[in-house]
Structures are given as structure tokens and as C-alpha cells.
Amino acid sequence: MKKYAATHEWVSVEGKTATVGISDHAQDHLGDIVYVDLPEVGKSLKKGDVFCTIESVKAASDIYAPISGKVIEVNEELDSSPEKINEDAEGSGWIAKIEMSNESELDSLMDLEAYKKHCEEEG
């Protein structure tokens, strides 16, 4: 199951683990990404916390945790190849895996169709 936050992060759920990243729409808006400040493994997050900062040629942007939980793995490849997010934001450009502490939060996120509409309205 894949869901999106209004702040342009995606969550893909398998069991209790959520893989998170930024949407393709978001990477397109940020432009060429040059640096990803990854969260620390073991860190506890509340939904809405800033858990990562992404620097592109345009700006530095905060990325918000779309769900609460504990960071159990980060995509260390992004350290040396931040461009992975531009190339495949919703696949190999994932940012972190989070062990969810409150799965019901998923209900407040959008499915792809609702997210697309949200992007259009924002644009």
C-alpha cells in the first residue's frame, strides 16, 4: 500500500515497516538534488517532525515524517549519489525505513489519485 502526505512525502507499507521518500512531483520541483542530510538510525519521530533535509540547486528543504515511529534503516546510497532521488524518487531514491508506532495515522494520508489532485490545486 502506498500513500502520500500533503507535504509531498510518500509511504509504502509492508507489515509494520514503512518505507518513506519524497514524491516524483516534489523532486521535479526541487530540481537537481545535491545533498541529502539523512536521519539517524534509531531516532524516534512524530508525524510532522522534520526528519531529513534535502538540498537542491534551488534551495534547502525540510522533509517531514509522514508517520510516527522509529527509524530502522536509511538509504546510505544517497550520501554519495543524491541524484538517485531525481532519477527514481519513488523507488531506489527512498530515504528511510520506519517502524510505525501508530498505523492508524495512515488513514489521514492520501492515495495517488487524491495526491495528484492536491498537486494540481497547489500548482
Binding site: G31, D32, I33, V34, V57, A59, S61
Partner: protein
């Protein structure tokens, strides 16, 4: 070609005395790890070659002296040569900061008078001239705020509110001073959203940092309500005065209720912004904060000017000596030559020029917010993407081919594909029309063949730079092997 590429083994333009003539070996006077084992790898050129190399580089530079420079938020205006001349007068340029006070009374008088002028212009009670730039002024302002609450026993105030449109230095300065930053969103009119502000304002807020006109070039017309809300909760109001050139002589931050302000003398008061030498970011405060100002403060007892270091509650020293004195001189000369009426008129021209250009350009690309602007305005370039498949970046690069410095792009962050234009008060109508005509031409190019824009610039010294690789794999120094 770098100066190294022009090097020829053995060529030289200058003869240094032979090492023996010093009468000692470098190892006699220097620790071992500071003594070179081999000669430094310096380029070898004749004096004329060096002259031509650097003159050539300077000719490739783009400057306000050479052309229109509407870089939003940066106030790239023309700064009268007269002020440079005054600043280089020998009596000013040849004095030393360690000279005795009674031998530099004139210099102290300039600083004292300038402090007073700035008080008058901004409506504040006291000024320090020490901070070296805008961002440094912000940091000093934040440290003043912190100290103020420490002395009041309100150290619980650890948060500072900053609008989402703010210049990046604002939140950075607050964090540097040890505050936590909370962002307040803008409303649909590009101003601070008062409802959201009310929700985050509480007894843990030390202050609100605002720019007025703000970074989208709009006057915060609810500033009186904002100041009341802030002061009701015991918070202070900070004014980023980098945009003062829009309101000089017409409105004063002090009267709007601001407690601390910084100004960018390099921008508003006749020192070039960037690349033209050092800046200056004086900080002004209301009397409740005046004893906390950095030392030294310039005083006058009716007959003699002096430097006062005895402020027990001062936040301390923030800069070596007394600040960037040359910039004070230019500001002082600028204020005296224009006078009160002239400063007022400078602001009027800044606003008039911006609105003229806004009216012309908004027929091509919509502005981000409706209505009149102050000294600058923001266009929303998302239409370029949807209609022509070109980005703001492509338009900016194409402007270079027409010999015009592009506006600021992708700032402020809250506007999609932003183009921020600040024509400044010193441009003629012809220059503004030329810019608007060029813009129009570029948009028709975009319609006919977007690739022209995507391949731009073609006529510049270097083509489109690969910014992403430059940031991902920066090479910051020359080496023999590259």
C-alpha cells in the same frame, strides 16, 4: 585559461632578494612544520601578462556600471562616485584604529552623526555601527533579544517566529543565537497570516522577525496589529531593514513598533552590495535595549567625541575595532547629499520603477500576488512550464544572451518558479522599457522554439554551467593535475 595555463617555465616579472641576504635561514626563525621543503607552485609570467590576464577577467565581469541588474532582494543600484571619493579622502583613509581619540575626532564625529541620522530615519533610540553586514546585524539583534530576556529572568523565551517568505539569513541568525525557529505561513495576499500568528504566539516566544516591505515586495499593512499581538505576549519585534530603500522618509520601523532593527548600508546607503568590498549592518534599538549594545559606543559630551567601553550589560564585542568605517563614510555622504527630501524621493522612485515594470511584465507572466508592490515584485513562472515547457531558469539564462543580469530566481521559496525583480531607484524609464521589451521577446521565443531558451546562454564567456555537479563534486582549488 587560468593564470597557470599561461605560465612559462623561468619567466618572471619581479625579482625578490636572494634568501642569503636576510642573514638567517628560514628554519632559524620558523618551526619546522612551517618551513617549505620545495618551492611553491606559482605561475610564471611577465608583469604585462599578469596585467592583461586580470584586466581580461575584469572585463568579463558583469556589473551595475555596465548594465541593468534587477536582482530582487539585492538592491543593485548605482552608488554615486562622489561618495567613493569622500571615503578615500586621505584624512579618513590614512588613519589607524589605534590612534589616540583626540587625533581622530573627525572620524568619531562622522560615526556619532551617522548613528543619529540612522536613529532619525528609522525612529529608533540608539544605534551601533559595528556589525559587518546584514546577516551579522541580525545575529547581533538576536543576541540583544536573548540578553534582554535573560536579564528580565524570562529565559524560557527560546523561540523566534519567522515568516515562510523570509530571507534565509533570518532563521539562520536566530538559530546561531540559540533560538528555535517557528515558521508562520503567509496568507493569499503574501502577508503574514494573523490567525496562524495568533496560534503560535505565546509566553515562550522571544520575538518575531519581519521585513517590511517583506521579501515578496509587499507592505505588511497589518503591522500595527502584529506589533500589538507581539507586545501583548511580551515578545519583541525585530525589523530586517534590508528593504528600507522602499520606505525611507515615508514610514519608520520605530513608529511601527519595532524594538530592534538592522540596516544594510551596503544596498540602501550607497555601498555596492557584494563584490564591491565590505558591507555594514548597523543595529538600532529602542531605549529599553540601549545598555545592551555592543561596545564601544561613540559618545559626545558637548565638546569631545569618545569611545565608551563601559557598558556592564553589553552583549560584548562583535567586530574588530569599530566596524567597516569606509562604508560609514559613504552612507554619511549619501545621506548628506540627498538630504531628507532626497531620501524620500529615492524611495518614491524605487517604488515607482518597480510598479512600472510590474505593470508591463504582469501582462506576460502573472505576479504572485495582486495589487501594488513596493520596491520589488515577484512573478510566478509556473505558466511558462505548463504553456511552453520552459522553466524560470531558462528565461534567466536567455536574458544573459541579451546582456541583462537576470532577476533573482526560485526565491522566495513560497512562490512556484519565482522570478523576483527589483529595478531600483536609479534606473531610467528607457532601461526599464528595454528590459520589458527583451522579456517579451524571450517569451515569444519560448512560444516558437523553447530550445532557444533551454540552450541559453550562447553569447556569454561560458555556457550553461552544470551547477548540480559543481555542488555534488566541488573542486575548490586548482591543482597541477586538472
Amino acid at each position: 585559461m587560468t593564470v597557470f595555463d599561461k605560465s612559462t617555465e623561468g619567466r618572471t616579472g619581479f625579482f625578490l632578494p636572494k634568501e642569503e641576504s636576510y642573514g638567517y635561514e628560514p628554519s632559524d626563525v620558523l618551526p619546522e612544520n612551517s618551513v617549505r621543503k620545495e618551492s611553491p607552485l606559482l605561475p610564471q609570467l611577465s608583469e604585462l601578462q599578469v596585467m592583461r590576464h586580470f584586466t581580461g577577467l575584469s572585463e568579463k565581469n558583469y556589473s551595475v556600471d555596465g548594465g541593468f541588474y534587477p536582482l530582487g532582494s539585492c538592491t543593485m543600484k548605482y552608488n554615486p562616485r562622489l561618495n567613493e571619493r569622500i571615503a578615500s579622502l586621505e584624512g579618513f583613509s590614512q588613519i589607524h584604529p589605534y590612534q589616540a581619540e583626540d587625533t581622530v575626532q573627525g572620524a568619531l564625529e562622522v560615526m556619532y552623526n551617522l548613528q543619529n541620522f540612522l536613529c532619525e530615519i528609522t525612529g529608533m533610540d540608539s544605534f551601533t555601527l559595528q556589525p559587518a553586514a546584514g546577516a551579522h546585524g541580525e545575529l547581533v539583534g538576536m543576541l540583544l533579544m536573548k540578553k534582554y530576556f535573560e536579564l528580565k529572568g524570562e529565559s524560557n523565551r527560546k523561540k523566534v517566529i519567522v515568516p515562510d517568505s523570509a530571507h534565509g539569513t533570518n532563521p539562520a541568525s536566530a538559530v546561531m543565537a540559540g533560538f528555535e525557529v517557528i515558521e508562520v505561513p503567509s496568507n493569499g495576499n503574501g502577508r503574514v497570516d494573523l490567525r496562524s500568528l495568533g496560534e503560535i504566539l505565546d509566553e515562550n516566544i522571544a520575538g518575531i522577525m519581519l521585513t517590511n516591505p517583506n521579501t515578496v515586495g509587499l507592505f505588511e499593512n497589518e503591522i500595527c496589529e502584529i506589533q500589538e499581538m507581539a507586545h501583548d505576549k511580551g515578545a519583541l519585534l525585530y525589523y530586517d531593514g534590508a528593504n528600507l530603500n522602499a520606505i525611507m522618509g515615508h514610514a519608520r520601523p520605530g513608529d511601527m513598533g519595532f524594538d530592534i532593527v538592522h540596516l544594510n548600508l551596503h544596498k540602501t546607503f550607497s555601498t555596492p552590495h557584494g563584490m564591491g568590498g565590505p558591507g555594514s549592518g548597523p543595529v538600532g534599538v529602542k531605549s529599553i535595549l540601549k545598555d545592551l549594545l555592543p561596545v564601544p559606543v561613540v559618545r559626545f559630551d558637548g565638546s569631545k567625541f569618545s569611545l565608551d567601553y563601559h557598558l556592564p550589560n553589553s552583549i560584548g564585542k562583535v567586530r574588530s575595532f569599530y566596524g567597516n568605517f569606509g562604508v560609514f563614510l559613504k552612507a554619511y555622504a549619501y545621506i548628506l547629499t540627498l538630504g531628507g527630501d532626497g531620501l524620500k524621493r529615492a524611495s518614491e522612485m524605487a517604488v515607482l520603477n518597480a510598479n512600472y515594470l510590474r505593470t508591463r511584465l504582469s501582462k506576460l507572466i502573472p505576479t504572485a500576488y495582486p495589487g501594488l508592490c513596493m520596491h520589488e515584485f515577484v512573478l510566478k513562472g509556473s505558466k511558462l512550464v505548463s504553456e511552453y515547457g520552459v522553466k524560470t531558469l531558462d528565461v534567466a539564462k536567455r536574458l544573459l544572451d541579451y546582456g541583462i543580469h537576470p532577476p533573482t530566481i526560485y526565491f522566495p521559496l513560497i512562490v512556484d518558479e519565482a522570478l523576483m525583480v527589483e529595478p531600483t531607484e536609479t534606473e531610467t524609464k528607457e532601461a526599464l522599457d528595454n528590459f520589458a521589451d527583451t522579456f517579451e521577446r524571450i517569451l515569444s521565443e519560448a512560444k516558437e522554439d523553447p530550445n532557444i531558451l533551454k540552450a541559453a546562454p550562447q553569447k556569454t564567456v561560458v555556457g550553461r554551467l552544470d551547477e548540480a555537479t559543481a555542488s555534488r563534486k566541488p573542486k575548490t582549488r586548482w591543482s597541477k593535475d586538472t
